[in-house]
Protein backbone atom coordinates (compact mmCIF):
# COMPACT_ATOMS: atom_id res chain seq x y z
CA UNK A 1 0.00 0.00 0.00
CA UNK A 2 1.18 3.48 -0.83
CA UNK A 3 1.94 5.69 2.17
CA UNK A 4 -0.85 8.15 2.90
CA UNK A 5 -0.17 11.82 3.57
CA UNK A 6 -2.54 13.20 6.20
CA UNK A 7 -2.60 16.84 7.27
CA UNK A 8 -3.44 17.66 10.89
CA UNK A 9 -4.76 21.20 11.21
CA UNK A 10 -6.95 23.33 13.46
CA UNK A 11 -6.84 26.46 15.65
CA UNK A 12 -3.98 27.24 18.03
CA UNK A 13 -3.88 25.03 21.14
CA UNK A 14 -6.14 22.33 19.62
CA UNK A 15 -3.52 19.62 20.26
CA UNK A 16 -2.02 19.13 16.77
CA UNK A 17 1.60 18.85 17.91
CA UNK A 18 0.56 16.79 20.94
CA UNK A 19 -1.35 14.33 18.74
CA UNK A 20 1.62 13.81 16.42
CA UNK A 21 3.98 13.47 19.41
CA UNK A 22 1.66 10.91 21.00
CA UNK A 23 1.21 8.81 17.87
CA UNK A 24 4.45 8.93 15.91
CA UNK A 25 6.43 5.69 15.75
CA UNK A 26 9.48 7.51 14.40
CA UNK A 27 11.39 10.52 15.65
CA UNK A 28 9.20 13.57 15.10
CA UNK A 29 10.09 16.84 13.43
CA UNK A 30 8.76 19.85 15.32
CA UNK A 31 9.29 23.60 14.93
CA UNK A 32 8.37 25.23 18.22
CA UNK A 33 9.05 28.88 19.02
CA UNK A 34 8.47 30.86 22.21
CA UNK A 35 5.08 32.57 22.16
CA UNK A 36 4.81 36.32 22.64
CA UNK A 37 1.00 36.35 22.93
CA UNK A 38 -1.28 35.15 25.73
CA UNK A 39 -2.43 31.92 24.08
CA UNK A 40 -2.23 29.74 27.17
CA UNK A 41 1.03 27.96 26.34
CA UNK A 42 4.73 28.72 26.11
CA UNK A 43 5.59 27.21 22.75
CA UNK A 44 3.84 27.31 19.42
CA UNK A 45 4.43 25.66 16.03
CA UNK A 46 5.76 28.09 13.41
CA UNK A 47 6.38 25.81 10.41
CA UNK A 48 5.28 22.20 10.76
CA UNK A 49 5.20 18.97 12.74
CA UNK A 50 5.91 15.62 11.18
CA UNK A 51 5.55 12.05 12.34
CA UNK A 52 4.71 8.60 10.99
CA UNK A 53 2.27 5.94 12.07
CA UNK A 54 1.29 2.50 10.78
CA UNK A 55 -2.37 1.64 11.10
CA UNK A 56 -3.66 -1.75 9.86
CA UNK A 57 -0.64 -2.08 7.51
CA UNK A 58 -1.23 1.41 6.16
CA UNK A 59 1.71 3.79 6.60
CA UNK A 60 0.57 7.33 7.40
CA UNK A 61 2.71 10.45 7.09
CA UNK A 62 1.32 13.00 9.53
CA UNK A 63 1.95 16.67 8.70
CA UNK A 64 0.86 19.14 11.37
CA UNK A 65 0.26 22.80 10.49
CA UNK A 66 0.73 25.90 12.64
CA UNK A 67 -2.50 27.06 14.33
CA UNK A 68 -2.35 30.85 14.06
CA UNK A 69 -4.02 32.29 10.97
CA UNK A 70 -0.97 34.44 10.22
CA UNK A 71 0.78 31.19 9.22
CA UNK A 72 -1.95 30.30 6.71
CA UNK A 73 0.62 30.18 3.88
CA UNK A 74 1.94 26.99 5.53
CA UNK A 75 -1.52 25.41 5.28
CA UNK A 76 -1.20 25.67 1.49
CA UNK A 77 2.35 24.32 1.52
CA UNK A 78 1.53 21.35 3.75
CA UNK A 79 -1.79 20.32 2.17
CA UNK A 80 -0.08 19.87 -1.22
CA UNK A 81 -0.56 16.23 -2.16
CA UNK A 82 -2.45 15.34 1.03
CA UNK A 83 -4.95 12.48 0.72
CA UNK A 84 -6.71 13.01 4.03
CA UNK A 85 -7.20 15.62 6.69
CA UNK A 86 -7.85 15.73 10.43
CA UNK A 87 -9.04 19.06 11.79
CA UNK A 88 -8.68 19.33 15.56
CA UNK A 89 -10.53 21.75 17.82
CA UNK A 90 -10.55 22.05 21.61
CA UNK A 91 -13.88 20.85 22.98
CA UNK A 92 -13.57 23.09 26.04
CA UNK A 93 -13.09 26.27 24.00
CA UNK A 94 -16.25 26.90 21.94
CA UNK A 95 -14.93 30.38 21.07
CA UNK A 96 -12.51 28.53 18.74
CA UNK A 97 -15.32 26.82 16.76
CA UNK A 98 -15.84 29.67 14.25
CA UNK A 99 -12.14 29.61 13.33
CA UNK A 100 -12.25 25.81 13.10
CA UNK A 101 -15.15 26.07 10.66
CA UNK A 102 -13.39 28.76 8.58
CA UNK A 103 -10.21 26.71 8.50
CA UNK A 104 -12.02 23.50 7.51
CA UNK A 105 -13.90 25.31 4.70
CA UNK A 106 -10.68 26.89 3.46
CA UNK A 107 -8.61 23.69 3.54
CA UNK A 108 -11.30 21.64 1.80
CA UNK A 109 -11.69 24.33 -0.87
CA UNK A 110 -7.95 24.06 -1.55
CA UNK A 111 -7.73 20.30 -1.24
CA UNK A 112 -11.05 18.43 -1.37
CA UNK A 113 -10.02 15.24 0.47
CA UNK A 114 -11.68 12.91 2.97
CA UNK A 115 -11.59 14.49 6.43
CA UNK A 116 -12.46 14.01 10.07
CA UNK A 117 -13.00 16.64 12.78
CA UNK A 118 -11.41 15.69 16.12
CA UNK A 119 -12.74 17.29 19.31
CA UNK A 120 -9.92 17.24 21.87
CA UNK A 121 -9.83 17.40 25.69
CA UNK A 122 -12.65 14.87 26.12
CA UNK A 123 -10.97 13.86 29.40
CA UNK A 124 -11.39 17.36 30.84
CA UNK A 125 -15.05 18.24 31.43
CA UNK A 126 -16.91 20.50 31.03
CA UNK A 127 -16.30 19.85 27.36
CA UNK A 128 -18.41 19.76 24.18
CA UNK A 129 -18.88 16.21 22.91
CA UNK A 130 -18.42 15.24 19.26
CA UNK A 131 -22.20 15.09 18.59
CA UNK A 132 -22.66 18.67 19.81
CA UNK A 133 -19.70 19.94 17.78
CA UNK A 134 -21.01 18.10 14.69
CA UNK A 135 -24.31 19.99 15.07
CA UNK A 136 -22.50 23.28 15.56
CA UNK A 137 -20.29 22.80 12.50
CA UNK A 138 -23.11 21.36 10.40
CA UNK A 139 -21.11 18.16 9.86
CA UNK A 140 -22.43 14.60 9.63
CA UNK A 141 -21.97 12.80 12.98
CA UNK A 142 -19.69 10.13 11.51
CA UNK A 143 -17.12 12.79 10.58
CA UNK A 144 -16.69 14.11 14.13
CA UNK A 145 -14.72 12.13 16.72
CA UNK A 146 -13.97 12.90 20.37
CA UNK A 147 -10.45 12.29 21.68
CA UNK A 148 -7.74 13.03 24.19
CA UNK A 149 -4.57 13.87 22.24
CA UNK A 150 -2.24 12.79 25.07
CA UNK A 151 -3.59 9.22 25.26
CA UNK A 152 -2.40 6.91 22.42
CA UNK A 153 -5.52 4.69 22.20
CA UNK A 154 -7.71 7.80 22.11
CA UNK A 155 -5.50 9.99 19.90
CA UNK A 156 -5.53 7.37 17.15
CA UNK A 157 -9.35 7.41 16.84
CA UNK A 158 -9.67 10.24 14.27
CA UNK A 159 -7.18 8.44 12.01
CA UNK A 160 -9.01 5.11 12.40
CA UNK A 161 -12.24 6.89 11.41
CA UNK A 162 -10.51 8.65 8.51
CA UNK A 163 -9.30 5.32 7.09
CA UNK A 164 -12.82 3.83 7.48
CA UNK A 165 -14.38 6.77 5.65
CA UNK A 166 -11.76 6.56 2.91
CA UNK A 167 -12.46 2.83 2.44
CA UNK A 168 -16.24 3.51 2.26
CA UNK A 169 -15.79 6.38 -0.17
CA UNK A 170 -13.36 4.34 -2.26
CA UNK A 171 -15.83 1.42 -2.40
CA UNK A 172 -18.80 3.68 -3.22
Amino acid sequence: MEPLKVVVSGPVGAGKSTLIRTLSETEIVDTDALTSEAIGKELTTVAMDYGTLTLEDQLLYLFGTPGQERFDFMWDVLTEGALGMVLLVRGDRPEDFPQARRQLDYLLSQQPVPYVVGVTRQDQPPVWGPEEVALYLGQPAERVVGLNATEPTSAVQPLVRLLELMLQEGAA
Binding site: T31, A33, L34, T35, V46, M48, Q68, R70
Partner: protein, 118 residues
Protein backbone atom coordinates in the same frame (compact mmCIF):
# COMPACT_ATOMS: atom_id res chain seq x y z
CA UNK B 1 14.79 55.41 25.52
CA UNK B 2 11.94 52.91 25.46
CA UNK B 3 12.56 49.43 24.14
CA UNK B 4 10.74 50.31 20.91
CA UNK B 5 12.92 53.43 20.42
CA UNK B 6 16.09 51.44 21.00
CA UNK B 7 14.97 48.87 18.43
CA UNK B 8 14.09 51.65 15.95
CA UNK B 9 17.55 53.13 16.51
CA UNK B 10 19.24 49.77 15.81
CA UNK B 11 17.11 49.40 12.66
CA UNK B 12 18.22 52.88 11.44
CA UNK B 13 21.89 52.08 12.08
CA UNK B 14 21.55 48.75 10.27
CA UNK B 15 20.11 50.51 7.22
CA UNK B 16 22.95 53.05 7.33
CA UNK B 17 25.52 50.25 7.53
CA UNK B 18 23.86 48.36 4.65
CA UNK B 19 22.20 50.97 2.40
CA UNK B 20 21.55 48.40 -0.33
CA UNK B 21 18.92 46.59 1.78
CA UNK B 22 15.41 46.68 0.31
CA UNK B 23 13.66 46.06 3.59
CA UNK B 24 14.26 44.98 7.17
CA UNK B 25 11.80 43.27 9.51
CA UNK B 26 12.43 42.43 13.16
CA UNK B 27 9.86 39.96 14.46
CA UNK B 28 9.21 37.71 17.43
CA UNK B 29 10.12 34.03 16.92
CA UNK B 30 6.38 33.30 16.78
CA UNK B 31 5.97 35.59 13.81
CA UNK B 32 4.68 38.99 15.00
CA UNK B 33 6.34 42.15 13.61
CA UNK B 34 8.20 44.29 16.20
CA UNK B 35 10.03 46.98 14.16
CA UNK B 36 10.28 47.15 10.39
CA UNK B 37 10.32 49.33 7.28
CA UNK B 38 8.21 46.99 5.16
CA UNK B 39 4.67 47.64 3.92
CA UNK B 40 4.06 43.90 4.05
CA UNK B 41 5.50 43.42 7.57
CA UNK B 42 2.83 41.13 9.13
CA UNK B 43 3.16 38.55 6.37
CA UNK B 44 6.93 38.85 6.10
CA UNK B 45 7.28 38.53 9.90
CA UNK B 46 5.25 35.29 9.92
CA UNK B 47 7.21 33.85 6.99
CA UNK B 48 10.55 34.87 8.53
CA UNK B 49 9.62 33.05 11.77
CA UNK B 50 8.66 29.98 9.75
CA UNK B 51 11.91 30.09 7.74
CA UNK B 52 13.97 30.45 10.92
CA UNK B 53 12.08 27.74 12.81
CA UNK B 54 12.34 25.29 9.92
CA UNK B 55 15.99 26.28 9.27
CA UNK B 56 16.90 25.53 12.90
CA UNK B 57 15.18 22.15 12.70
CA UNK B 58 16.81 21.20 9.37
CA UNK B 59 20.19 22.26 10.73
CA UNK B 60 19.66 20.06 13.80
CA UNK B 61 18.30 17.03 11.89
CA UNK B 62 21.05 17.05 9.27
CA UNK B 63 23.75 17.69 11.92
CA UNK B 64 24.91 21.07 10.65
CA UNK B 65 25.39 22.51 14.13
CA UNK B 66 23.61 25.62 15.33
CA UNK B 67 21.91 27.68 12.62
CA UNK B 68 23.72 30.74 11.24
CA UNK B 69 21.00 31.91 8.88
CA UNK B 70 18.35 30.78 6.42
CA UNK B 71 18.74 32.17 2.90
CA UNK B 72 16.19 32.28 0.12
CA UNK B 73 17.82 33.23 -3.16
CA UNK B 74 15.65 34.31 -6.07
CA UNK B 75 16.61 35.59 -9.50
CA UNK B 76 16.09 39.16 -8.29
CA UNK B 77 17.66 38.98 -4.85
CA UNK B 78 18.02 37.48 -1.40
CA UNK B 79 15.85 37.11 1.67
CA UNK B 80 18.02 36.28 4.68
CA UNK B 81 16.78 35.36 8.15
CA UNK B 82 18.92 35.42 11.32
CA UNK B 83 18.09 34.50 14.90
CA UNK B 84 18.21 37.50 17.26
CA UNK B 85 18.58 35.56 20.51
CA UNK B 86 15.85 33.15 21.63
CA UNK B 87 12.97 35.56 21.10
CA UNK B 88 13.74 37.50 17.94
CA UNK B 89 14.10 37.13 14.19
CA UNK B 90 15.94 39.55 11.89
CA UNK B 91 14.90 39.34 8.25
CA UNK B 92 16.55 41.29 5.40
CA UNK B 93 15.75 41.63 1.73
CA UNK B 94 18.60 42.57 -0.61
CA UNK B 95 18.99 42.82 -4.40
CA UNK B 96 20.86 40.11 -6.33
CA UNK B 97 24.06 42.18 -6.70
CA UNK B 98 24.39 42.67 -2.93
CA UNK B 99 27.55 41.71 -1.06
CA UNK B 100 26.26 38.75 0.94
CA UNK B 101 29.50 38.41 2.95
CA UNK B 102 29.22 41.98 4.18
CA UNK B 103 25.52 41.54 4.92
CA UNK B 104 26.24 38.47 7.08
CA UNK B 105 29.01 40.26 8.93
CA UNK B 106 26.88 43.31 9.78
CA UNK B 107 23.61 41.45 10.28
CA UNK B 108 25.07 39.03 12.85
CA UNK B 109 26.38 42.00 14.87
CA UNK B 110 23.04 43.75 14.71
CA UNK B 111 21.20 40.52 15.56
CA UNK B 112 23.27 40.30 18.76
CA UNK B 113 22.42 43.92 19.63
CA UNK B 114 18.72 43.30 18.95
CA UNK B 115 18.81 40.20 21.16
CA UNK B 116 20.15 42.30 24.07
CA UNK B 117 17.21 44.71 23.78
CA UNK B 118 14.54 42.06 23.12
Amino acid sequence: MTKQEQLQQILRELKQALPELRSVVVASTDGLPIVHDSADAPRVAAMAATALGLGKRISQTTELGSLEETIVRGREGYFVVYAAGDKGVLALAAPSGANLGLIHLEARDFATRLAQVL
